[in-house]
C-alpha cells in the first residue's frame, strides 16, 4: 500500500483513514444480519410482546377498546422493546468478547464508538420492527383496534424510542465492557429500570422520591408521550424530557466507551485473545 506520488519519485506511507458514516452503516447492517438469525431476536421480539399482550388482554371479561387498547399496546411495546435494547446493548459486547471478535473493533482504524453505535442502532431498529410486527399480528388475532388521536406524534414517539433505546444500550454496553458479568448486571438493572419507567406499574404507585428518580429514565418520559399521542393532547414536554435524558445517555456513553477501553488496555482486563 503506497501513498500518493509526491512527484520527486518518493512515495510516503499513508495510513488508512476512518469514516464515521461508513462505520455506522456497515456496523448496523452487519448487526441486523447477525440478529436476524439469532434466537433471542425471536424470543425478545416475538414471544415476549405476544406473551405480555396475552396476559393483559386474554383473561379480561370485558373487551378492551379504543384508547385503552392504544395504552396497552404502547406500554407493551415500550416494555418489551426496552428489555430487548438492554439485552441487545450488553449482549452485543458480550457476544463480541465471547466470540473473540471484540479486539477487531478495539484495534480498528475506525473509531470504536461509531462502530458500537452502528451495531446498537441496527439491533435497536430491528428490535422495534420485530416487536411492532409481532404486536400488529397479535392485535389482529385478538381483534384489538387501537385508536390513535395523533398518529404522526405516535410515529415520532416510536422514532424517539429507537434513538433513546440506542443511547441507553450504548451507555449500558460501555459501562459493562470491562466486566465479565455484563449479562447478570444488565438483567439485574433491567427490572428496576422498567419499574421506574412506569412500564410495570403506573408511576403514581411509586413513592415520591422514586418518582423523581423515574425522571432520569427516558422510558418514563416516552411512556407519557406515547400515551398522550394516543389519547391527546400531545405532551410535548414529555418528548422534551426524553430528549434531555437521551442526550445525557448519549454523551455519557460516548465518553465512557473510550475511557473504559483505555482503562482495559492499561489493566489488560479485556479478554481478547
Amino acid at each position: 500500500m503506497s501513498g500518493p506520488d509526491l512527484g520527486d519519485g518518493a512515495q510516503r506511507l499513508v495510513p488508512r483513514r476512518p469514516s464515521a458514516p461508513d462505520a455506522v452503516v456497515a456496523s448496523a447492517a452487519m448487526q441486523v444480519r447477525q440478529n436476524l438469525v439469532h434466537p433471542m431476536t425471536f424470543a425478545a421480539g416475538v414471544l415476549n410482546p405476544l406473551m405480555f399482550l396475552a396476559i393483559v388482554v386474554v383473561p379480561r371479561e370485558e373487551r378492551l377498546a379504543g384508547a385503552d387498547v392504544t395504552a396497552v399496546l404502547s406500554g407493551v411495546t415500550l416494555a418489551t422493546f426496552w428489555a430487548a435494547c438492554v439485552w441487545g446493548g450488553v449482549g452485543i459486547l458480550r457476544r463480541e468478547r465471547w466470540s473473540g471478535t471484540f479486539y477487531r473493533s478495539v484495534t480498528a482504524v475506525q473509531d470504536a464508538r461509531w462502530v458500537l453505535l452502528g451495531k446498537v442502532a441496527g439491533a435497536t431498529a430491528l428490535n422495534l420492527v420485530v416487536v411492532l410486527a409481532s404486536l400488529a399480528a397479535g392485535s389482529l388475532v385478538l381483534g384489538l383496534r387501537p385508536e390513535v388521536e395523533h398518529p404522526a406524534a405516535l410515529l415520532l414517539g416510536f422514532a424517539a424510542t429507537v434513538v433513546s433505546g440506542t443511547a441507553a444500550a450504548q451507555l449500558v454496553g460501555s459501562l459493562l465492557v470491562v466486566t465479565r458479568y455484563g449479562v447478570a448486571l444488565s438483567n439485574a438493572i433491567s427490572t428496576p429500570v422498567m419499574l421506574l419507567g412506569g412500564t410495570i406499574l403506573p408511576l403514581t404507585f411509586l413513592v415520591p422520591p422514586a418518582r423523581w428518580l423515574s425522571r432520569t429514565i427516558s422510558l418514563s418520559w416516552l411512556q407519557d408521550f406515547l400515551a398522550s399521542a394516543a389519547t391527546g393532547p400531545v405532551a410535548w414536554w414529555a418528548l422534551g424530557g426524553a430528549a434531555v435524558t437521551t442526550t445525557v445517555y448519549a454523551v455519557l456513553g460516548w465518553r465512557l466507551l473510550t475511557t473504559m477501553v483505555d482503562r482495559a488496555r492499561r489493566e489488560a482486563t479485556l479478554d481478547l485473545f
Binding site: G9, S99, S105, F273
Partner: protein, 329 residues
C-alpha cells in the same frame, strides 16, 4: 536522494526499552522487561520463546491492544500510544484459531466487515474481498457461513482479514497451529509471498518449521527479556553442530571405531549402538560442519568396516531452540 523512499530509513518496527507489568493476586508479573530491538521494512522476524515468555504481550502492544507500562513501541515511526490511529492504519494482527470471526456471517461478509474496520473504502472493498478470497482459496466458500468452515479455512480467512487493508506490518500469532501439513504448507507459501511485496512480518510460532521456511531473523524471548537476536542460520548453528551423520556398518561395534570417528577433525561427538536386529552397528556423529573433507575423513575412519547405509540430517531449529532454552533457563 531521488528515487529513494524516505520512509525506508525508518524501521518498520522499533521497540525501545519496552516494559509491561501485570497485576495479579499477590503482586506484579513483569511480562516484558526493557526489551529493545528494531526491524527494517520488509524483514520477516520470528519471535521464539516458551509459553509465558512474553511473545504475545509484545504482539498485543504492537497491535495497540495493550498499553505498555513504560518504554516505546513504534510502527513506521508512529508511537503506538501517542499516535495510535496512525499506527493502526499500518499494522494488522492475525490471531487465528476458531475465535475472532462472526460465525453466523459468511466468509465474504466477515471479510467486508473487517475491511471496513480497517479503513478500506466502500468502493474498493468489494474488489478487495473478491481478490483476497481467491488468493486464499476461499472463493467457492465465500457465501457460506463461517460456522461451516473447517479449521484450515478459518485460518485462511483470518489471514485474508489481516491482509485486506494491505498492512505494512503484519503480526502473525501462531499462524499454522492446528492445521494439517498441507494446509500449513499452503499458508506458509501465502505468507512468504507477502515478503515479495515488502511487508514486514513479526511471527510468533512454536513450530520451528515456520521459522525455518519464513523468517530471516530470530528474536528469543525468555521471562520477558530479549535474550538472543540473530539470523536464522546463526540460530540453527547455535546448537553447536551443523548436522547429524548416521552410518550403519555391518557387524559388531568395535570401540576403536567410535574412537576413530570421534577423532575426525570437525566431529564434535560420536557414539555407537547395535541395530535392533543386532547384525549391524549404527554410528552417530555430530559434525560441526558438513563438507567433502569431513565426508572423506569419516570414510577413512571407518577403514575396512562395511558401510551399509548413511544419512545426513542438518541440525534442526527444534534442537537449537531446546539448546537456547536450556542456556537461558
Amino acid at each position: 536522494m531521488q528515487g529513494e523512499n524516505p520512509d525506508q530509513a525508518i524501521p518498520a518496527i522499533e521497540v525501545v526499552d519496552l516494559t509491561r507489568d501485570f497485576t495479579v493476586a499477590g503482586g506484579t508479573v513483569r511480562a516484558l522487561d526493557h526489551v529493545s530491538f528494531s526491524v527494517p521494512a520488509g524483514q520477516c522476524v520470528a519471535v521464539l520463546g516458551v509459553n509465558g515468555a512474553g511473545k504475545t504481550t509484545l504482539a498485543k502492544i504492537l497491535s495497540t491492544l495493550l498499553l505498555p507500562t513504560s518504554g516505546r513501541a513504534l510502527v513506521h515511526g508512529h508511537d503506538v500510544v501517542a499516535r495510535t490511529a496512525e499506527a493502526r492504519g499500518l499494522v494488522s494482527v492475525v490471531l487465528g484459531g476458531d475465535r475472532g470471526l462472526y460465525s453466523m456471517l459468511t466468509g465474504a461478509e466477515n471479510l467486508a466487515y473487517c475491511g471496513m474496520l480497517a479503513g478500506v473504502r466502500r468502493q474498493e472493498r468489494r474488489s478487495r474481498v473478491r481478490a483476497l478470497l481467491r488468493e486464499v482459496g476461499l472463493s467457492e466458500a465465500a457465501d457460506r457461513r463461517v460456522e461451516t468452515y473447517s479449521k484450515g479455512m478459518k485460518q485462511r480467512l483470518h489471514i485474508a482479514a489481516g491482509l485486506i487493508a494491505e498492512p505494512r506490518v503484519l503480526l502473525l500469532d501462531e499462524p499454522t497451529v492446528g492445521l494439517d501439513p498441507n494446509e500449513a504448507a499452503r499458508l506458509r507459501e501465502q505468507i512468504a509471498a507477502l515478503r515479495v511485496d515488502g511487508v514486514t512480518i513479526l511471527l510468533t510460532s512454536h513450530y520451528l518449521v515456520d521459522v525455518e521456511r519464513l523468517a530471516e531473523r530470530v528474536l528469543m524471548v525468555s521471562a520477558g527479556r530479549l535474550t538472543h537476536d540473530m539470523g536464522v542460520r546463526e540460530f540453527a548453528e547455535s546448537v553447536g553442530y551443523a548436522a547429524t551423520v548416521r552410518m550403519t556398518v555391518a557387524g559388531d561395534l568395535p570401540t576403536s571405531l567410535v574412537d576413530a570417528v570421534s577423532a575426525v577433525p570437525g566431529v564434535k561427538a560420536a557414539s555407537g549402538e547395535p541395530s535392533p536386529d543386532g547384525r549391524e552397528t549404527v554410528l552417530t556423529a555430530l559434525v560441526e560442519r558438513w563438507d567433502p573433507f569431513v565426508l572423506t575423513a569419516l570414510g577413512a575412519a571407518l577403514g575396512r568396516a562395511e558401510l551399509v547405509d548413511m544419512t545426513v540430517r542438518e541440525a534442526s531449529l527444534d534442537e537449537a531452540f531446546a539448546a537456547m532454552s536450556e542456556v537461558t533457563g
